[in-house]
């Protein structure tokens, strides 16, 4: 009960910071539009090429765009936390009886919320261009992308609390994000990779998320890989939230 109340409270604080910052709101809407406007024109000729998978250009590329948005949209969250560390905000919050899990979860939920919103905007804009997706598919895909955001944000906060400086945070997060993204099949399908690379990619949770998202966009909601992707992300997110909350509570008991 206290956990829910505290989480809601913390979410409210960071949501308020977000909503009261017009730059953030504008960029938040602009980002998915940019993704589409700058990327979609490339799709048409490619989709016409021989051997291009069925399902239309948008149905093939939008899942990848969304996964990227989920990950990079949340990869930078640690910067704001480091600024707060410096202002003493984090210590001030930690001295109060507020739940340590809420301190992490409330903020990560805000990040998740903004990513889901951006993803929805991207999907809605793509619809008139020929993206076709079942309404239930939208819900499932938003859940997937939201979980990627929650997972990435939680890890980002845990790293930020551990390293405490932007100079260490940026290289750590972006260097580790790169191989994860490359080996997820977002850019090119992993099925064309040599076996050794596929073996490495098999331990990449994002691979399963991309796989699940692709199936959703192919109207294969019932495919086992969809459930598999969701379950993997849920489990990892829970682990990441717990680890992040530990970092927030790394004081007495």
């Amino acid at each position: 009960m206290k956990l829910i109340r505290d989480t809601w409270l913390v979410f409210g604080r960071y949501f308020g910071l977000f909503i009261h910052n017009p730059v953030w709101v504008a960029l938040g809407v602009l980002q998915p539009v940019l993704y589409l406007v700058l990327f979609a024109p490339l799709l048409r000729p490619i989709a016409a090429m021989r051997g291009f998978p069925p399902g239309g250009a948008y149905n093939v590329f939008v899942p990848g765009l969304l996964v990227q948005l989920g990950m990079f949209g949340a990869a930078g969250v640690g910067f704001s936390l480091i600024a707060e560390l410096r202002m003493g905000v984090i210590e001030r919050l930690r001295v109060t009886p507020v739940s340590r899990v809420a301190l992490l979860f409330g903020r990560a939920l805000r990040d998740m919320f903004s990513i889901v919103l951006q993803s929805l905007i991207l999907i809605l804009i793509a619809l008139p261009f020929g993206l076709s997706i079942h309404p239930l598919g939208i819900v499932v895909v938003l859940a997937l992308i939201g979980l990627i955001g929650l997972l990435t944000a939680s890890i980002g906060y845990a790293v930020a609390l551990a390293v405490k400086s932007e100079d260490s945070y940026a290289p750590i997060v972006f260097t580790s994000a790169l191989p994860i993204l490359l080996l997820s099949g977002v850019l090119l399908p992993m099925s064309i990779a040599p076996q050794w690379l596929q073996n490495i990619a098999a331990i990449n949770p994002l691979l399963y998320a991309v796989d699940a998202a692709r199936h959703v966009f192919n109207d294969n909601l019932g495919d086992p890989s969809v459930l598999k992707g969701v379950v993997i992300l849920v489990v990892l997110s829970v682990v990441a939230v717990v680890i992040g909350a530990r970092q927030f509570g790394r004081a007495v008991a």
């Binding site: 707060e84 001295v95 007495v252 008991a253």
Partner: protein, 323 residues
């Protein structure tokens, strides 16, 4: 709880904290025994890096001790950190308000963190805004505040839930004299309401003017403890400080073995003498110097200050070591 004397709000025994960085160990707090009584203003005095903040962070549950025990606000630090958090307020060295948020929003949010319903938190925020004279600034972003306004807001954040014990880490560092006086005034008001205040400071005059009792910490160890008066009395007598033209060491050698000198040392290029009675010592010193043809440049007679206490206890002057 049984065992703890009712009047002790903070009681530590052998409190320690070791930091490991790059394979080297720093013992920031090296076995501190403290007893802070209910309702007093307790000053924690020491130079940079003495271990003040580290001690405060341990006592306010932010940092796990490496050793020792502590009871804070009637609760055991190791087993009841949650209870302690409900009873204390903590204002860190860096403050704690977000520059991008208004002071009022921060105060209301702080009240909500302590479990107050929204309406009660708003009412409390409004009270504190009036009390701390932040009326004009409360609805502006904290980033626009003056140093003094910011510090008063920080203190307000620590007071939202009316804690029985308030920790203030260097509440007046970097403030102009006027803002400093305002903060002192607030601290005295808290004291009048019965709140126990534990504050750290570099400033001897602050400890002297504000605190009921003082502990001096140096290299993680308490080197002196008592009321400012007691500490000064322990030195006893008066302090004579003088310089001569030429070699100070010769002047020191000349006077140090005199009967009326309890202790003599060379400090910052001047001779410090601790004497029983200044008015007796002064003429004698003048005669001695005259007899040795040493020309007196400056001479001062004063009652011992906390600075002298610090000097006696640590062999260093506080002003010289504090950045």
């Amino acid at each position: 709880m049984e065992g703890a004397r009712p009047e002790a709000v903070i009681e530590t025994r052998g409190l320690r904290r070791v930091f490991k960085s790059r394979g080297r160990q720093v013992e920031a707090v090296a076995g501190v025994d403290l007893d802070v009584r209910r309702g007093e203003i307790f000053g924690f005095l020491g130079p940079n890096g003495a271990g003040k903040t580290t001690t405060l962070r341990m006592l306010s549950t932010l940092l796990a001790p490496s050793g020792g025990t502590a009871r804070v606000a009637g609760c055991d630090l190791a087993t009841q950190p949650g209870k302690i958090r409900e009873r204390i307020g903590y204002v860190g060295q860096a403050g704690g308000a977000d520059r991008e948020i208004t002071g009022r929003t921060e105060l209301v949010f702080q009240g909500r963190l302590y479990g107050m319903p929204t309406a009660a938190a708003q009412k409390r925020a409004a009270e504190l805004i009036v009390m701390l004279e932040l009326d004009g600034a409360a609805d502006r972003k904290v980033g626009t505040y003056s140093g003094g306004q910011k510090r008063r807001l920080d203190i307000g954040l620590g007071l939202v839930h009316d804690p029985e014990l308030l920790f203030l880490d260097e509440p007046t560092t970097g403030l102009d004299p006027q803002s400093r006086a305002r903060v002192w005034e607030e601290v005295r008001k808290m004291h009048d309401r019965g709140t126990t205040v534990f504050l750290t400071t570099h400033y001897l005059d602050e400890a002297d003017a504000l605190c009921d009792r003082v502990a001096i910490i140096d290299y993680g160890k308490i080197v002196a403890e008592g009321t400012p008066e007691e500490l000064k009395r322990a030195i006893a007598g008066d302090v004579v400080t003088f310089t001569v033209a030429g070699e100070q060491q010769r002047a020191l050698d000349l006077v140090k073995d005199q009967d009326f000198v309890r202790e003599a040392r060379l400090e910052n290029g001047s001779v410090h003498l601790y004497v029983d009675r200044g008015e007796v010592a002064m003429p004698a010193i003048l005669r001695l110097l005259d007899g040795a043809s040493l020309q007196l440049m400056t001479v001062e007679l004063h009652r011992p200050s906390l600075d002298d206490v610090f000097l006696r206890q640590t062999g260093r002057s506080l002003r010289e070591t504090a950045a």
